[in-house]
């Protein structure tokens, strides 16, 4: 089947076939393209495009019915922001071809079952919403939709199921009502009232321990961080009070009412929600992020209120657009800015709010942090006259409310702001933030500015930072990232390690062998012991100090130089750090020499973990040690800790994958043998192969167990240290009758939360141990609360 090349093919975007070919693949691609693109910018009206498309599809039904069904089901699931465009299309098709309408509804139900089975709950919401809007298009009979909703709400009567399960079924029903509430109430108001009162009862008895852990700010003012179901309920209540009058949603089907009301409707088959399965992963609860209200947009359209259903619909649609287009930032920005109905709302404010809402979402943003940075830059490019101002206003507001912002969110704000500034020549009106200079530097505002400047410096250089801030900000400027060498010159010659440092330095420069260097190091006295044992093998902190300081000093020029040095002398370093004390000390030395360059510390620690000079637990113990207590609230500490945990997790996953692959291979091999030959010799050979694989599997199994044990130990170490530190603080405050809420305490307890939130998937495996060993009832209730909130997330 040769494909003729059209000479007039345009480049970029979808190649538009000017000639109808008889190639089925090309027609299918064309159908996909037509369907996906309807509703986008066009010279004709949306109505005429829909009419035209309905005609085309109707004509293609005899030959391409299944394909069309497949495409329509897919857009229902994947393009929720264009929901009403596609329901109208289906409505028109149903009016022209009743059977097709019925088949579509059946296909949707099948798809709904599949998505639920596969834990794709967010997509299932879009499918149900689509079905409910089909009521407006006269495709589905209202009573059968109500019946489905009744079945969903009856899940709230189930016992012994996770709360997040019944949450989801309630959410689905409520979130469809902005689209279909009016129609359902007109047809079945008694049933709907009963339904809503059941929902109300459920919402009242729901447990909400998890909420504080998910809130971006701890303060209620100016905008409460509402639990998502509570907010949606308030919005639906208000909609009901307004007699279901909703004017924001674009409803193309209204223009076709005369055609659609002639159509015959289908009944949804009775749909029983699938029962709870133990491996079901329901969506986690969330909190609605709000930072703007009607007082914030100075001119132009007014922002819909926090409990208006318009607010819900706008936010939903904007989230959906980001979900659809996040990989292509130009398209994403363009789609956001061309939101239908944008002239009636302060769109820029909604966009900025939704983006920050995702960026600050707890436990973690739906997409990578850097995506939001780049998306905001694209938006600024497309709307240079208005968006940057809104963004500046938002930044100002976020700064003002730093005191009550969750530490994890502050981290993300720091990273975002510094990266953003680096794209705009670091221009900012720092003087506006001069208030941060008048308070203790550990307070959130000066701390924020300090961390931002540090990140800015990493993306530029020290002098640049001095140049961009007013001289009054000098206390917040980061240190010049220089190396601090203990054995720097003759003035330090009295130090015990000095002579050896000189010799080691020369030996390295002269490319001496490891043995020669080790011989030099043998001469280093051990401050810990009166008499060295013969081999000098025991832990000698001075030896580590002399060698590592000198080596890193010689390699201080760049990351690559330092990595090369660590690689070259890997053997010596392994020897020096055989003991746990050795591992801890090497980390201490790294900090001592590079304390002005936290970025370098982080990359060196990363390298040493990867090359197994230190292990993850050593890093954790070092970060929590007394020596590092004065740095405990700095961002780089937590970046190192989380990076270390991630490396541990990836390591476990890697070996688990190897084990699975070996098991699969064995199974395949055994199947092959069973299915194929009976040749005796062949059988013996493959039995040998099996034996080898089985041995490999056993070894891998041991490796997995050992890695998991290391992982569990790492979390235990971290949690133990937190508990110790926090308990100490709480006891001290209580005995001194002092308020526990110091900046240090807020930081520490939120860092503990952050461990749970950032690594919840892994920590779930060890809940039993954690509860039995650490998070027992004897623990101070402040600390225990964090654990209980975490457990509540998966209730």
């Amino acid at each position: 089947m040769s494909r003729r090349r059209h000479s007039d093919e345009n480049d970029g975007g979808q190649a538009h076939k000017r000639r109808r070919t008889s190639e089925p693949i090309e027609i299918e691609d064309r159908l996909e393209s037509l369907i996906c693109r309807v509703g986008e910018k066009s010279t004709s009206s949306l109505e005429s495009n829909l009419e035209g498309l309905a005609g085309v599809l109707e004509a293609d039904l005899p030959n391409y019915k299944n394909k069309i069904l497949r495409i329509l089901c897919a857009v229902a699931r994947l393009l929720p922001e264009k929901l009403t465009v596609y329901t109208t299309l289906v409505g028109l098709l149903n009016a022209r071809n009743y059977n097709f309408g019925g088949e579509f509804v059946e296909a949707m139900i099948r798809q709904l079952k599949e998505t639920l089975k596969n834990n794709l709950y967010n997509e299932a919401v879009y499918l149900v919403r689509f079905l409910s809007d089909l009521v407006n298009c006269h495709v589905i009979a209202a009573p059968s939709m109500v019946a489905m909703f009744e079945n969903f709400v009856s899940v709230t009567q189930e016992e012994d199921v996770p709360q997040v399960r019944s949450d989801w079924f309630v959410y689905v029903v409520l979130s469809c009502l902005p689209w279909v509430g009016k129609e359902l109430y007109e047809k079945k108001d008694v049933e709907m009232d009963r339904l809503l009162s059941q929902v109300e009862g459920y919402l009242k008895r729901r447990v909400k321990i998890h909420v504080p852990m998910l809130q971006v700010w701890t303060a209620e003012k100016p905008h409460p961080q509402e639990e998502y179901l509570d907010c949606l309920w308030a919005q639906i209540q208000k909609l009901k009070k307004d007699r279901w009058q909703e004017r924001h949603i674009l409803r193309p089907y209204i223009a076709f009412d005369s055609v659609l009301c002639e159509a015959l409707q289908h009944n949804l088959p009775p749909f029983t929600p699938p029962g709870h399965m133990p491996d079901a992963q329901y969506p986690m609860p969330r909190v609605v992020f709000r930072m703007f209200d009607y007082t914030d947009a100075p001119e132009g359209p007014v922002m819909p209120g926090s409990h208006s259903v318009e607010r819900f619909v706008i936010e939903e649609n904007l989230h959906c657009i980001i979900k659809t287009h996040w990989k292509e930032r130009k398209t994403c920005a363009a789609q956001l800015l061309s939101y239908p109905g944008k002239n009636k709302i302060p769109l820029n404010y909604h966009i900025v709010e939704v983006i920050f809402g995702e960026l600050f979402q707890l436990p973690s943003p739906p997409h990578m942090d850097v995506m939001y940075t780049t998306l905001l830059i694209e938006l600024c490019k497309l709307q240079p006259g208005s968006l940057p101002q809104v963004l500046a206003q938002a930044t100002e507001m976020l700064y003002m409310r730093l005191d009550t912002m969750n530490t994890s969110c502050v981290d993300r704000l720091i990273n975002w702001f510094a990266h953003h500034l680096s794209n705009f020549q670091f221009r900012w009106s720092w003087d506006d933030w001069a208030d941060c200079l008048t308070v203790d530097l550990e307070k959130p505002k000066p701390k924020f500015v300090k961390e931002v400047l540090e990140k800015c410096m990493r993306l530029s250089y020290h002098q640049r930072i001095i140049d961009i801030v007013p001289p009054t900000f000098s206390a917040l400027i980061p240190a010049d990232p220089t190396f601090t060498y203990k054995y720097i010159d003759e003035s330090t010659s009295s130090l015990p390690g000095y002579p050896a440092a000189i010799n080691v330095g020369n030996a390295i420069k002269n490319r001496a062998s490891n043995e020669e260097i080790l011989t030099i190091l043998k001469e280093v006295p051990n401050p810990n012991q009166e008499d060295d044992d013969d081999e000098g093998e025991s832990f000698n902190p001075l030896k580590i100090d002399v060698f590592l300081q000198t080596l890193l000093h010689l390699a201080a020029k760049s990351f690559s130089h330092s990595f090369s040095a660590l690689g070259k002398f890997h053997e010596i370093l392994k020897t020096l750090t055989e003991s746990d004390e050795g591992k801890l000390h090497i980390l201490k030395v790294i900090y001592e020499v590079w304390r002005n360059h936290p970025q370098m510390i982080a990359v060196l620690v990363d390298k040493m973990v990867r090359t197994q000079i230190v292990d993850c637990a050593a890093v954790a113990n070092w970060l929590f040690s007394q020596d590092m207590a004065h740095e405990f609230t700095r961002l780089f500490i937590w970046e190192i800790l989380h990076s270390t945990i991630r490396k541990m997790n990836k390591h476990v996953q890697k070996i688990q994958k190897e084990l699975e692959e070996a098991k699969d291979k064995l199974e395949k091999q055994q199947h092959k043998r069973r299915d194929s030959g009976d040749d005796e010799e062949m059988e013996k050979n493959s039995e040998d192969e099996d034996g080898q694989l089985e041995e490999q599997i056993e070894r891998l199994q041991e490796k997995v167990e050992s890695a998991q044990s290391e992982q569990k130990n790492l979390f235990l170490v971290i949690f133990q240290r937190f508990i110790m530190l926090l308990t100490e603080h709480l006891v001290r405050c209580e005995t001194g009758s002092v308020d526990i809420s110091t900046p240090w305490y807020k930081n520490c307890i939120e860092r503990l939360q952050q461990i749970f939130l950032m690594h919840h998937a892994t920590i779930q495996q060890y809940m039993g141990t954690l509860e039995n060993l650490l998070f027992t009832a004897e623990l101070d209730h402040h600390i225990l609360a964090v654990y209980q909130q975490f457990c509540a997330l998966q209730l």
């Binding site: 897919a74 990140k455 760049s558």
Partner: protein, 164 residues
Amino acid sequence: MSAKLNALNSDSYIDVSQYRDQHFKGNRYEQEKLLKQSHTLYVGNLSFYTTEEQVHELFSKSGDIKRIIIGLDKIKKTACGFCFVEYYTRADAEHAMRFINGTRLDDRIIRTDWDAGFKEGRQYGRGKSGGQVRDEYRQDYDPARGGYGKLAQQHRSTEARNSF
């Protein structure tokens, strides 16, 4: 059921570009195959003064970096405005193509492109004067990349000599 729609699957930022390394040892097909699997990015339009640290800070935003190799002038052995960034995973490199390509580093819009993989020797500029080829022929003045292009510099000094 998990029907993917080609029309919705656009991910153009991670597409392979038209550039092919003329010094690549192998045929076009092999090069393209490597590009499609690569974890390594070429990064261009850097300032000569951009450091490994700055590159590391920026590109770490899309994932853990395995190594960075700063491009060098073949003669002077100083940075000449490009580098390679190698990630541990393909996915992290793809994120860099989507979110870091076309943004600023050291005040300059940088460009990333897939690379078939670092080999010794590829860290050197291939221009006659030792830097990158693009700096041989460009006519504009770029203070962060040695001023005028090498050819233009020669013309300027010839002109200066002639007019003196």
